[in-house]
Amino acid sequence: MNTKAMDKLLSGALDGELTPGQRAQVEQWLANHPDAVAQQEQWARVGDLLREPLNPPDPEMEWQAIRRTIRSQAPAADAVAAETPVFSWRMAWAAAMLGLVSLGLYLIAGFQLHQGTLMAHGQSGAPAEVEWAESGVPGATMMIFADQETGMTVIWMDVEQNGNNDTKELEGS
């Protein structure tokens, strides 16, 4: 074992933190190295110096000061604790509601714009004016409307054949 490793053990021995095997090693080393004994004594004196009596403040007076600090901080801390979540929740709710309203408005506007575009391209299934007429054919209904794109009048007839509806464009003018 080198000197540094042994020095660490000497320090550990002072603190009573060695295993029995390490203790035996240290004892053997100390028996053969008087300088190591002197070193341990010096380290022990470091502890003595640390334990020199101090002049601590009066504990009761200190407690009064600590209590004042605790009490002065308590209402502020309570107020922050009580207010912060409410404030956050209000902000969160406001933001969520605002988001929902914005989304709704956006969707409505988008839908209307989409419908308008479809109408402009004549893709809408809902013509401006529709007339329903008797077709004279049993089980059939007839729809007459003006196609806004072509300007033609379109006649649609639904004819029921074997229980199935069959829609046909009959005539254009």
Partner: protein
């Protein structure tokens, strides 16, 4: 609990009943301010001693000690009785002291030297008063104490705290490791380096 407790040192009355203290701590945890006051008064001298040896002056030590107890009151809800109370409180004290030192951004060495410029700093004077030595012996003791405090101030923060907890509070390596959040082997190494450094610094004064 009592068996594992370090021997009291530097406390006002020199003795702490740890069983009674745990009862007060439990009462304090349920909001009993008076019980907390009893805990503070029982351990105040010890926490102050650790803070003083770490900070190197009475004003900072007092401030750190007060901060420690205020934080302890605020964090009392997080204290679990499986841990030892003194380990818990010294952990708060160690953090408070290291935070205080870093926030202040002070140079330990110059602070010590400034403090030593005063002929007899209160703590050195208190120590000197405690012994009835001859004048020449008093002078030697004073020189030694001042040199020691200077050497202590030059240690790395972690090394100094570990040395203080070991020598002042008699904590085991494992207990110090819990306070400092490191391994027991690291505690052993740091203690060795701290002792070596002070020995080198003080030379024949030891």
């Amino acid at each position: 609990m009592n068996k594992a407790s370090p021997e009291p040192s530097n406390s006002e009355d020199g003795y702490v009943d740890w069983t009674e203290l745990e009862t007060w701590v439990e009462q304090a945890r349920s909001g009993d301010e008076e019980a907390f006051g009893r805990v503070v008064q029982a351990l105040h001298g010890r926490v102050y001693a650790v803070a003083y040896r770490y900070m190197g002056n009475a004003d900072d030590a007092r401030e750190v000690t007060q901060m420690t107890w205020v934080k302890a009151w605020q964090k009392l809800g997080t204290y679990r009785q499986q841990a030892r109370f003194y380990t818990w409180i010294y952990r708060i004290a160690a953090n408070a002291a290291m935070d205080h030192l870093r926030k202040a951004g002070r140079r330990r060495e110059s602070e010590y030297l400034d403090a030593l410029d005063h002929s007899n700093p209160p703590e050195v004077a208190a120590s000197l008063r405690a012994n009835q030595d001859r004048p020449d012996q008093l002078l030697m003791r004073k020189e030694r104490l001042e040199a020691f405090e200077s050497a202590l101030g030059k240690l790395k923060e972690e090394h100094r705290m570990i040395l203080v907890l070991r020598e002042l509070e008699g904590m085991s390596y494992q207990e110090i490791a819990e306070v400092m959040k490191c391994r027991a082997g690291t505690v052993m190494s740091r203690l060795f380096y701290a002792r070596k450094a002070i020995q080198k610094e003080l030379k024949e004064l030891l």
